[in-house]
Symmetry: C2
């Protein structure tokens, strides 16, 4: 055990920086694990070592910011650093690589180590890859879900029911939470909705809500706000609810994998941790979504329901049509405008409104607020009487936004380009993945005004030269890049349209 | 494309550090990939982003040392930074996760990206994990081997044969290269031996050789030295020969995996890249090694031979007894002392001498230097006439060491503890893994003097109180730790010895 003088380093990452000579005398190399202890508060964390010759003098330990968020050291504090052992969870990950089944304790050990930074991102990736190739069975999924819940904060509401809702994603423009949450809260039910930011999409619900209000709150703030106004729409990543899940999602991102077991656990851990006992899950089905066929969708639904039973939650799943975008807008501001318009009274787009009412209706029926078969109609009434808008304003207000905001106040990206139909005919194809890619190239979700506005959807007859879709961007170079890529991606196809023209090939 | 002022950061890692606002304006988050271009030399590298508020001001890009080793920027240079695309190799890794077979181009793309830092350690781990669970077939192994060779430096000797030798490891005390290389060089053959440092072991050959001389040389220095004195023993990691292999090994380390396909490729890529055409491979077989049975050993031998044929190398494999240590010493200095003593004329330990002579003999026969069946005898003669010692001194000298060094000049760790037999009986068990673990706890391989010296080997009759083995350490706290753990590990068992005594359980 050697004592060092702390030097907090403002780099937003985990780890410590040791002088090369100090590292050698502790017996560690770059990338090795050390135990770092702050004797003034007794906090001990594991960290991975970087080395330097000059930035940390001998006797000084540099502590990167995220590690110091836990360690709470100040410059000059006496900090103990020693070689850390190999965490037992590495064995369990190896067991999963070798097709073993993990028991409750082994799973909990892995997830604890994930949350405590005891295993590296690469080690976590090994676990994710192994669980993807050697899928988790339902017992393992239950262990994983419980471990995710237990290693984070949990909300305990004084009274039930608590409703929650989740879409498993893959469909662009899926802004329905902006309607479903106010609808359910307007009925008198409680819905503490934690959402994600976009990982592979063009805008997660949290990215959308952030156009209107703050989304970063603690678990207890989520509880208090929900008690007060009936619902919230916040970013789950800020709550410390099921924090392991966020770590896992980050590592899955490069490969765009969403292993079944981890997806089940991810969704249900968040629902369980916020205290929900009635859960509606939207499973978009279609060739271009995560769930290609209705059979696959039913199977997944049964798994959600079974996992729910194991965790004392009632789950209903809605298989929805997911092969084209929900509504006409893709990208944070564009989607928020569309949602606000509907709350303000617009009766279009039908796909968006009907889907939202159906899902809200299921929750209303599950809770007993509406009789079987009358949930959607009750939701329709809450919408058309303005109760949902009123509730949404309360939610915006409690989350620190401006409750007087109107759809017309929000302006999407100032750089725009209208793609016109190159020929007359029916719109025969809309490719979700290409639409998302294009919106991302245009800057979504980071650039809130970036995205795509569709002017026609699949099946519509369109004339040559009529607008097919518009690309929006906050920055002109982003728009340029989107235009270049758009020619290659061709996300919307009109019957009879040339797919390529050699040698000068242009889609539009 | 945005231009930044360079600030070289002395942290021994890859990556760049951007001000958070700059990162946002480029459109990247922590952990995202950027392309970094130094316009003064045209070099472009991929790097992963860390962010800061204060360490890099807006308009400044911090460049960590290993990334700057390639980029060669100086403080204040104008550096371009832009969001980098997703490398295609991620798709190929995903394909392997999905049980696909990788073709030559896909494999080369992955390995190129590994060497160029275009994929992260976590992404590489996904590839390794996927290749471990979905094993590479021989075509894929050949692609991998060729890709490793092509993405590094290669040595082309003017004349053949070029001999090389490899032990696949897992046996403690396997210092035979210190004999085999001088023996082969003394016969007039050339052997440009690149070795590893210990990853999971108590001392790699490079760690051992570093007790006597420098081991970090470039590929062209390896070639020149080999041309001059017939052989070298260097650290492969410094040569840029098959550099992808080192990256892979680092990521395998936490799980102690050594997937068959990667192991084959790793060994043979290094042999191919140094220009070897005659290769002897030592496959230690035994319950406690990487290869548990003779059948497994033969299968692995056939794979080495087949891969050799595909790469125009003649390969012979020697299955050796690997269940107990080679010789009596484990740990850098202790092993070097034992090897030097043998070169100086000692006729013990027999296991070490016979194994070395057999392996050298195979190479002598393959090359035609010795007639079939006479190689070991010829090697014995080179040893007993002092030719091997003479050659070893030349090798030490050309690598910058002191050629006059004698075994008696080297002193192992000053902190020692002799473990005595707790009872009389035969030595019935020596556990390789426990011996290695104990040597590592005592400080090996970083502490060159640390390790274990066995006083009796399996099968020997020993009396109560006689020395069983000694633990050496350079630092007293390391010795203490080894003593504590040794009680639990009990690496050497004597017939009739109590394995535990409840409640005060002590092995020794």
């Amino acid at each position: 055990m050697v004592k060092f003088s702390a030097k907090v380093l403002d780099i937003a990452k985990r780890g410590v920086l040791l002088n090369r000579l100090d590292a050698r005398s502790i017996g560690v190399l770059d990338g090795d694990r050390v135990q770092v202890i702050n004797p003034t508060n007794g906090i001990s964390v594991t960290a991975f070592v970087d080395t330097t010759i000059t930035i940390a003098q001998q006797g000084t330990v540099g502590i990167y910011r995220i590690t110091n968020d836990r360690l709470s050291a100040n410059d000059g504090d006496g900090i103990e650093v020693r070689e850390a052992g190999r965490p037992a969870s590495l064995q369990y990950i190896k067991k999963k690589m070798d097709s073993g089944r993990l028991n409750k304790e082994e799973t909990l050990a892995i997830i604890k180590d994930v949350v405590n930074d005891d295993i590296s991102p690469a080690e976590l990736t090994a676990f994710i890859t192994a669980s993807y190739i050697n899928p988790l069975d339902m017992d393992e999924v239950e262990h994983l879900t419980r471990a995710m819940v237990e290693t984070g904060e949990q909300i305990k509401f004084a009274s039930k029911p608590i409703v929650d809702k989740h879409s498993i994603g893959g469909v662009p423009g899926n802004k329905i939470s902006l309607l479903v949450v106010p609808l359910i809260a307007a009925s008198g039910l409680k819905i503490p909705k934690t959402s994600s930011r976009a990982i592979t999409g063009a805008g997660g619900t949290a990215d959308l809500m952030e156009v209107l209000a703050f989304v970063e709150f603690s678990a207890s703030e989520v509880q208090q706000m929900t008690e007060k106004v009936g619902g919230v729409i916040v970013w789950g990543g800020a709550t410390n609810i099921a924090p392991a899940d966020d770590r896992i999602i980050i590592q899955e991102y490069p490969f765009k994998i969403d292993a079944r077991g981890q997806m089940l656990a991810s969704v249900m851990a968040k629902k369980s941790a916020v205290g929900a006992n009635l859960v509606v899950i939207d499973i978009p089905v279609g060739e271009h979504t995560k769930v290609p066929t209705v059979q696959d969708g039913r199977k997944l639904a049964r798994e959600f329901i079974e996992l729910g039973e194991r965790l004392n939650m009632r789950v209903e799943c809605a298989l929805t049509y997911g092969d084209i975008p929900v509504g006409y807008s893709i990208g944070p501001k564009l989607e928020v405008i569309e949602a606000l318009r509907v709350l303000e009274g617009a009766t279009e787009p039908n796909s968006f409104i009907q889907k939202s009412l159906s899902l809200a209706g299921i929750a209303l029926e599950m809770s007993g607020k509406a009789a079987q078969g009358t949930g959607a109609a009750m939701a329709q009434e809450l919408l058309s009487k303005g109760k949902a808008l009123e509730k949404f304003k309360k939610i915006i207000e409690i989350q620190g936004g401006d409750p007087k905001i109107k759809s017309g106040d929000i302006t999407p990206g100032e750089h725009q380009f209208v793609v016109k139909a190159p020929t007359s005919g029916y719109v025969i194809e809309m490719n979700n993945k290409s639409l998302i890619t294009l919106a991302r190239i245009a800057g979504a979700p980071h650039d809130r005004g970036a995205g795509i506005l569709l002017h026609a959807k699949k099946g519509k007859l369109i004339k040559v030269g009529e607008p097919l879709f518009s690309i929006y961007a906050d920055r002109s170079w982003r728009l340029q890049k989107a235009l270049e890529e758009g020619r290659r991606l061709m996300p919307v196809l009109v019957e009879g349209m040339l797919l390529d023209r050699v040698p000068s090939g242009r889609g539009f």
